[in-house]
């Protein structure tokens, strides 16, 4: 575990020294404040659209913060040859993958904390209400989603050679699942065989990331999901994270590295 944490801390150092997060946060804040400053029909108390825009920006930023660094971790180590002095130490490839994952996930978590804090302030000032539990839960579910996405990206990074290809593929898959994933069963019902069965299989296999997106509950001030459902979603996320990380290790452990 010590080695995993050591590798994770180096990942975290890299991420906060690269300053990607600061740029994204500033952009998110600027656009949100701009949107909030627009006067619609002389009513300064309209809040939902500001919340929606802010949450959309948070989601976009968080995906960039998660996928970008995760996509380049292992390819950059190989390209920069920093992988050799690392693996020449008593470090297993599993520890390396786990360390990279933990580093990316923890930093993404901190980024989410800051972004949701900003969202909470903006939303609270508009609505004069501070449903802290809602914000916290939304951030937590969002973080779990990012865990799945980061693990998926790490798998892509050991399978695909170029980080840019991995980045693109992962984002398309994630956005596709968020928009269309929950509806695939309905689509399957309208297709002829074997298309219907194939789509249905995909429906059951893909990680249902839309469960972790409770923006609508935040925007429309709806009640929180029940605790049992939250627990189930957490276990579900853990299973998919473990699946992608294990698959990454299976692919990576046999990859020859030539110094």
């Amino acid at each position: 575990m010590n080695i995993v944490i050591a590798i994770a801390s180096v990942v975290a150092k890299e991420m906060y020294r690269r300053k990607d997060f600061y740029v994204l946060f500033v952009l998110t804040a600027l656009i949100t404040l701009l949107a909030g400053s627009v006067n619609f029909f002389g009513d300064a108390k309209i809040a939902m659209y500001v919340k929606e825009i802010c949450l959309l920006l948070i989601w976009v930023s968080s995906l960039v913060i998660a996928v970008g660094p995760a996509a380049r971790q292992i390819p950059a180590e190989r390209e920069n040859r920093t992988i050799f002095p690392l693996l020449a130490k008593p470090v297993t490839r599993a520890q390396m993958i786990l360390g990279k994952f933990v580093g990316c996930w923890v930093v993404a978590g901190f980024a989410l904390l800051v972004l949701y804090l900003f969202f909470g302030v903006v939303s609270g000032l508009r609505e004069q209400a501070w449903p802290v539990a809602h914000f916290f839960l939304a951030a937590l579910l969002h973080w779990l989603l990012l865990g799945i996405v980061i693990a998926m990206t790490l798998l892509g990074s050991v399978v695909l050679s170029a980080p840019s290809v991995n980045w693109t593929v992962t984002l398309i898959v994630v956005i596709g699942i968020l928009f269309v994933g929950e509806h695939l069963n309905k689509v399957a019902g309208r297709l002829h065989e074997p298309g219907g069965s194939m789509v249905r299989t995909v429906y059951y296999l893909i990680p249902h990331l839309e469960w972790f997106d409770i923006r609508d509950l935040l925007i429309y001030n709806k009640p929180l999901p029940p605790l049992l459902a939250l627990g189930g979603a957490t276990v579900y996320a853990a299973i998919y994270m473990a699946f992608f990380l294990y698959a990454s290790w299976l692919v990576f452990r046999r990859k020859p590295l030539s110094a």
Binding site: V10, N80, F84, P85, L87, A88, S258
Partner: protein, 251 residues
């Protein structure tokens, strides 16, 4: 004297680079042993299989057949690398870290205590003459400075075996002398050093034993003095003869 490094009928084949091509035999039944406390030179022309052998010893690639051991532990076990230090030929380290942070990171992998880590960092920075630049990011270092950081990270765990791949490559004469001094110092401390080099003069000066490989096979192995006495010529001539080099005749 115990064998610190041992390869047993080591074969490494690479798959063909294109369909219909032949598999490349990089290492062909290599039996190598390095004894404790000696400085061992690993020589061969480009493409002979030196780097491949080192990659197997370091666990970067799996042998096709045979096995390799470090301190009698199979190289497939990560624990085999607990007591080794490795300096790659091309030295690249995390550019966003300072030299201090890099050494601290590697020390943490070896579970060295924080107090001991700081003590070692101080000593190593002085040894490799980077004390003045220890808090600067590595991306601001020259090639020579990066090579010295590499040496420092190879020594952070006070290794019993140091594996150096072309340690003097790209260094100026002063740098090369410093490396030789460090190798000698390690030898005096009873450490084992395995290094590959093209600088045969250097090898002759520093090494106790050498092995010369060509086309993946061990051609010759023995004490430098014994080989020179046996073949009645210097190490360079022995090397050239073994790899089949004949000088062009002048008509």
């Amino acid at each position: 004297m115990s064998e610190i490094v041992k390869t047993v009928e080591l074969f490494v084949e690479y798959p063909p680079s294109r369909s219909g091509g032949e598999r490349k035999q990089a290492v062909n039944g290599l039996n190598l042993s390095v004894k404790a406390g000696e400085v061992f030179g690993f020589l061969g022309p480009n493409g002979a299989g030196k780097t491949t052998t080192m990659n197997v010893l370091l666990g970067f690639i799996q042998p096709t057949r045979g096995d390799a051991f470090l301190f009698d532990v199979s190289v497939r076990e990560p624990i085999a690398r607990q007591r080794i230090g490795y300096l790659p030929e091309l030295t690249y380290y995390y550019k966003f870290l300072t030299a201090e942070e890099l050494l601290r990171f590697y020390a943490r992998i070896f579970r060295i205590t924080p107090a001991e880590t700081e003590r070692r960092i101080d000593a190593l920075m002085k040894l490799v003459e980077l004390d003045h630049a220890r808090k600067r990011p590595i991306k601001t270092y020259s090639k020579g400075m990066q090579q010295r950081v590499g040496l420092a990270q190879a020594l952070i765990n006070n290794p019993d075996l140091l594996i150096l791949d072309e340690p003097t490559s790209g260094l100026d004469p002063l740098g090369r002398m410093k490396v030789r001094e460090i190798i000698q110092r390690l030898k005096n401390e009873g450490k084992t050093v395995l290094f590959s080099s093209h600088e045969l003069g250097e090898v002759e000066t520093v090494c106790d034993r050498v092995a010369i490989i060509n086309q993946g096979q061990l051609q010759i192995e023995g004490r430098v003095a014994d080989l020179v006495a046996k073949y009645q010529c210097d190490l360079e001539r022995i090397f050239l003869n073994l790899i089949g080099y004949t000088a062009p005749t002048v008509s």
